[in-house]
Amino acid sequence: MKREKTHIIPPAERAFPDLSSGKYLVMWQGPQHPGITGNMSLRLIAEGDTVVDCETHVGYLHRGFEKLMERRLWMQNFPLVCRIAVPEPDFNEYCYATAIEELAGIRIPDKAIWLRTFSLELMRLASFLMWIGGQAGAFGHGTIAQWSVTMRDYVLDLFEELTGGRIYHMYIIPGGVRSDVPQGFFQHVLEVLKIVEKNLDDIELVMFHNAIYKLRAEGLGYIPKEWIDQYGITGPNARAAGVPRDLRKDLGYLAYPKLDFKVILGTKSDAYERSRLRLLEMYQSINLLRQIIDAMPKEGIFKEKLPNPLHWKIPAGETYVAAECTRGEYGFYVVSDGSDKPRRVTVRGPSYTHAISVMERLARGTNIADIAGLMVSLHTYPPEIER
């Protein structure tokens, strides 16, 4: 068998500058800062306006979810898991519910498969709308953030209509989903998608053809292709480097194998390419949502009957369930010892590597004014690091 050339990954070179020399400035970006995605800190050391060292500091949102889950019944954990990634909680619900179903040997109805696919894809669109506001804002485009957050609000209205909750839905539960769609709901969805699509056209025109945005984002935060496996990079950050990683295709879960879509790839692998790719994926999500609505079964049950959740014991075993969220591979590793509570739950969030190992390495040599744009271009959520 052929041996890889990169047998050993050398530790990333760090400068360790002499801070007493007076040449350097140490500064903290975050945890409260518009250029930070969530409550996280970057400890930056700058020489002039160039960053020579960066350390990611997390912990501001640590609530001990994984520990708490070991103390609660399987079903009681649903209000917890959705809070692990605030802007897109449904992926947590899906991974956790699917892991339980797999261990308990539960098959979900066909309609639930389609409703879950719909919910996850709508969530993807909402999350990207929030992200693009942050990306534009990091380069001074406040107007786009106003537009996209308004569009996200329309999508949250849809979630409210479907699930009763705007941010946390707890819609995906073991055995299926919590409810069927209300009457006329899909018509509302199609109307909102039309508005969002029009708005994306405007964003594309204003943001992606803007000279300042192009000048600042092009070439920023270049991720070489060989880093993808070395650092466990997934999602749009990998696809922008031309690496076709998309679990919707690779794992073929839920109804994705029945949908017509291609993995969108980039080549330049910089901040501009990553943001352009995400914009295209937003259009793709809209297209997928329309396909899902067309193919959605009109009849049928949306959930299987479950045992009494107060006495529900899951057979002993372990599994790892992953899904493609907006940022890449999102997964739940769940271990059961046969009791009524999880023995161990580990959440695998893509931000873990993107916001720490990758960010720390990319930040070195970057102009300090571009750190916020770089950070947002990696699209990270700190809660999924800290759990």
Binding site: L310, E318, T353
Partner: protein, 178 residues
């Protein structure tokens, strides 16, 4: 291919208990002394190039920590969970930070949360998420977070607490029986 991987791991690294959880997910157990070599072989020859995550489980009944490394073979669409048990009383494990660029962060987390040491791993002794934490490693099974909280922090007056299970039974499922 999976059988070849299982056979090679068994022959070269004494791997045992290969178990197919799904068509695209399996698990296998190796001795901790062989774990790093087995991981390097899987990465370089077995095409399991992507490290999804690394974590630990406190199997206090057996007095071991079970470390789990989950790798993915992208070409074949298969994931493998490699387990190894280490002594809970002397929790030390070989570092894999030279195999994957993000592995040191998982090891730093396991040091803080379980007290498992990875000598040589970058910044392994630095605080990760628990700034100023003085208690024992919080993910250990024998760490009672509620008792620690009651003993460490002062209860604010005027607040009531419900046992979640009892509250749920009373409010949502009053008719529920065993």
């Amino acid at each position: 291919m999976m059988n070849t991987t299982a056979m090679t791991l068994a022959e070269r690294y004494g791997a045992r208990d290969w178990r197919d959880q799904r068509a695209d997910l399996a698990s296998v157990t190796v001795d901790p002394r062989s774990a790093r070599d087995a991981l390097a072989w899987l990465r370089d020859f077995g095409e399991y190039k992507h490290l999804s995550f690394a974590t630990a489980i406190d199997n206090i009944e057996r007095n071991v920590f079970t470390l789990t490394y989950t790798l993915r073979n992208q070409e074949r669409g298969h994931s493998l969970m490699l387990h190894c048990d280490i002594d809970r009383d002397k929790p030390v494990m070989d570092s894999i930070h030279l195999l994957w660029g993000q592995a040191w962060t998982y090891q730093r987390e396991m040091k803080e949360w379980f007290g498992i040491d990875f000598p040589g791993s970058p910044r392994v002794d630095e605080e990760f998420v628990l700034e100023g934490w003085a208690g024992p490693p919080m993910m250990r099974r024998d760490f009672d977070s509620l008792a620690y909280s009651d003993a460490t922090y002062v209860e604010r007056p005027g607040r009531t607490t419900n046992d979640p299970a009892a509250y749920m039974k009373e409010k949502l499922y009053p008719e529920a029986t065993e």
